[in-house]
Symmetry: C2
DNA sequence: ATATTTAGTTTATTTTATAAACTTATTTAT
DNA sequence: ATAAATAAGTTTATAAAATAAACTAAATAT
């Protein structure tokens, strides 16, 4: 029987965010926005969901006078991502 | 930049159906229902969507007196599945 | 001083997934 | 023979999700 896929990760945008974050220490809001090609609103919402689940950590600060949102993946996030990938492999073979 | 994921395939249930169909010649409605652990209604809807996109072919017949719905993946479906898997690999690494 | 840009958030809309209810015919039990 | 239960689905309604549009507030450029 096929494993369930974590619905939080089985979303193109959230998966994209996680995929970027897993390979870097941290990333800024605007960087994620550009790399995923999503709108700011969409990113904002999805980041909140990931943070709510403690898959990522969001730090709000300022760069000079402008707001700066920095995100990083948590241990829980890494684990969830890895489990998602494993489950997915049942679906896509290998 | 991350590739887009075919939204028709990026759905747990539809992906599960396609994953089953890609490795067999054809499968019956009830078989897919059991393997994916989905409700009949849900399966019915998702099969229709896949058929609408010509990713699968649905043949309705009878076994004895009872209706029998048999599904098989099409060439287009195989191609779409393969492309989906390739795009996905950008997200999950390797 | 006004307009534009930056960096977001909040709210609203659309789409999607899912389940519940229904249909039709067929067995099985009484 | 009749009623109840099961099979194999479909249709419709509900819930959840994704996405975009509208908005905010401050900073910079004209």
């Amino acid at each position: 029987m096929l494993k369930d896929l974590d619905p939080l990760l089985h979303s193109q945008l959230r998966l994209g965010i996680m995929s970027l974050l897993i390979s870097m220490d941290s990333a800024e809001f605007t960087y994620l926005k550009e790399k995923t090609n999503a709108t700011a609103g969409n990113i904002s919402v999805q980041l909140d969901k990931l943070a709510e689940a403690n898959y990522i950590e969001i730090k709000k600060s300022f760069r000079g006078k402008r707001p700066l949102t920095t995100c990083s993946i948590t241990k829980k996030g890494i684990k969830a991502f890895e489990e998602y990938v494993n489950a997915l492999k049942e679906y896509i073979g290998k």
